[in-house]
């Protein structure tokens, strides 16, 4: 009998040890609660991205001259019953004629219509990218050099990942699980449909990027404004993973890399310093 009592007591102790941190965390308000971030813009707002392109066919590692891309919110219009930002993207360099026009839902920036413009020997032409507003997916700037890669919003991270545990070890010991989403990407081309799985993972950002993008750590901005979201978008069998860093208070990803392209935000209007504007991004 004593043995049974001891065994039950032992099990109770073990259970308490296992469950207690969860309870304590909950009491301290440290439970993993989801937060989200979606940039918001105004008509007339514009920003500039600079893209550097790696020549993958070259004998030696070679990065080409960067291109600066102007992103401008030209209008807010309804498209297919959805209120959208209409973003016009063009290069600062007149020799680079590729452009794009994006209709992104005002609520969550899901693509509603995407037009790619490109030069040919017979003049400028355009094509429409196939998007399904009812089935939002990451927008990949494939088949164009215009760098408009866009994740699915809101961007999420775990509140707990930012919190320092009372024991002081949480920052070291917690495994920061990525929040992942998978999408079936269907490309309908010439009567055939090609399917690949695209995944988007929101990960805890590193403090300093080794490639120098850490410089975009929002000097002079509030702590909230510096909240960063590190996103990875990958497509099966494509070997073209995209890593992006988004920060609250910035209109677009401050840094984005994939195997043949590095993109960084180089000019923007810093709205977060102006408390009267709504452009700092919205917490959900």
């Amino acid at each position: 009998m004593n043995k049974k009592v001891l065994l039950v007591a032992l099990m109770f102790c073990c259970a308490t040890i296992l469950v207690a941190p969860g309870i304590m965390a909950s009491e301290n308000g440290l439970e993993p609660s989801q937060t989200g971030f979606t940039p918001t813009w105004q008509i007339g707002e514009e920003w500039v991205l600079e893209s550097s392109h790696k020549d993958l066919k070259s004998d030696v590692e070679s990065w080409q001259a960067p291109i600066q891309w102007v992103f401008k919110v030209r209008a807010i219009k309804e498209k297919n019953g959805v209120e959208c930002y209409v973003i016009h993207i063009h290069a600062n360099n007149p020799d680079v004629k590729n452009q794009a026009v994006l209709w992104l839902a005002k609520d969550d920036l899901r693509p509603v219509r995407v037009i790619d413009l490109y030069p040919t020997l017979n003049g400028m032409k355009y094509s429409e990218k196939e998007v399904d507003p009812n089935n939002p997916q990451p927008l990949l700037s494939e088949d164009t050099i215009v760098p408009y890669d866009l994740p699915v919003f809101p961007l999420e991270t775990e509140q707990a990942n930012r919190a320092q545990g009372a024991d002081g070890f949480s920052a070291y010991g917690k495994i920061k699980e990525a929040i992942g989403k998978k999408f079936a990407k269907i490309r309908n081309v010439g009567g055939l449909s090609f399917k690949r799985t695209v995944s988007q993972n929101n990960k805890q950002p590193k403090r300093q990027n080794s490639d120098g993008f850490g410089a975009y750590s929002a000097q002079g901005m509030s702590k909230d404004a510096q909240q960063a979201y590190s996103i990875e978008i990958s497509e099966e069998r494509a070997q073209n993973d995209i890593s992006q860093t988004w920060r609250q208070g910035y209109p677009w990803a401050v840094a984005s890399t994939k195997r043949d392209r590095k993109v960084r935000l180089v000019k923007y209007q810093n709205k977060t310093n102006n408390p009267n504007t709504e452009n700092g991004g919205n917490e959900q």
Partner: protein, 326 residues
């Protein structure tokens, strides 16, 4: 009764044939990219010229630039310097300017007539040589991975499902010719594809597999520098495309001889690129504005300035109305 049984048996035997539906796709880019020399590193025709063609294309350019600007830019001297590895008598036989030629042949009109600029005659071959150098460094969309002949390189890359998609996407839709490295090994042989014809059918008793035969028409660079027009060669590729339960193509495999003879990587040039500092990809002494002046005259310059003032002009040129878009 026996006849009916036989007829039924015959019909049942033929039933799988109904699954053997033939499908096809094709496309052709017009005008086709132009044929031209690939300007071998080893031979160095751009700096040496060739029989009956003196001075060389780059000597002519330097002379023209000196007249226009008062200074010899040194295009010939830079190209002749073997440290820059554009001319190298010891280079491998396959090394040259094929990527520059391929991009230029897609992105620029064929220079078919001799242009006389500042009293200097630039033949079609001279102009093609200048353009091939100017487009050595260009922006592009790149697909697949280059095979370096190292362990770990995927011999099946570029995958046939991706290749098939690109053919239809770019050439089938009339968007652009695309360039393929046709050597699956470490060598690089860039050729533009401008036309394809593809047929496929489902396999016997296997409707999850499409057996595809595709003929690709490549623009040939095995021509005399003075050649004008498009000389082509045709390559047959065979591959299987695999479908999921909903009929989506999810993967593929090269078959037959195409297992060892398929494109290594694909790229689609989108525009010229200025030469970054310290790069030897392209001759940095060659001024693209002067090349344009030689090949096209001042008209194109005017169009470029117009577009730079207002990018909406390019939208209008594409047939869209900015007032409706925005």
């Amino acid at each position: 009764m026996r006849k009916i049984t036989l007829l039924l048996a015959f019909l049942i035997a033929l039933a799988p044939l109904s699954l053997f539906a033939q499908n096809s796709a094709s496309g052709e880019i017009k005008p086709a990219p132009w044929s031209g020399d690939w300007w071998s590193r080893k031979r160095g025709l751009l700096i040496k010229g060739w029989q009956g063609h003196q001075p060389s294309p780059f000597e002519k350019f330097d002379n023209y630039a000196k007249i226009r600007t008062g200074k010899n830019p040194g295009v010939h001297a830079w190209e002749a310097d073997t440290r820059n590895n554009h001319y190298n008598p010891n280079a491998e036989g396959w090394e040259g300017h094929c990527n520059g030629w391929a991009a230029a042949s897609i992105l620029t009109p064929e220079p078919t007539i001799t242009r006389t600029r500042a009293g200097i005659q630039f033949t079609s071959a001279d102009q093609k040589g200048l353009l091939s150098e100017q487009y050595m460094n260009c922006y592009c969309n790149f697909y697949g991975n280059r095979n370096w002949g190292k362990p770990g390189d995927d011999p099946d890359d570029i995958y046939p499902d991706e290749f098939h998609r690109l053919l239809i996407k770019y050439i089938g839709s009339g968007k652009s010719a695309m360039v393929c490295d046709i050597a699956v090994d470490r060598m690089v042989w860039n050729y533009p594809i401008y036309k394809f014809e593809s047929t496929w059918s489902t396999g016997w008793f296997d409707d999850k597999k499409l057996k595809v035969t595709t003929y690709c028409y490549y623009v040939n660079d095995d021509v005399h520098p003075d050649f004008i027009g498009c000389k082509w060669f045709k390559v047959k590729y065979t591959y299987n495309l695999f479908l999921d339960d909903r009929g989506n193509i999810v993967s593929g495999e090269w078959t037959g001889e195409s297992r060892n003879n398929h494109p290594d990587f694909v790229w689609v040039p989108t525009g010229d690129c200025t030469v970054p500092a310290n790069s030897t990809l392209e001759n940095p002494r060659l001024d693209p504005a002067l090349v344009r002046e030689i090949c096209e005259g001042p008209a194109r310059e005017t169009a470029g300035v117009r577009a730079s003032i207002n990018p909406d002009f390019s939208i209008q040129e594409a047939g869209l109305n900015p007032d409706e878009l925005f």
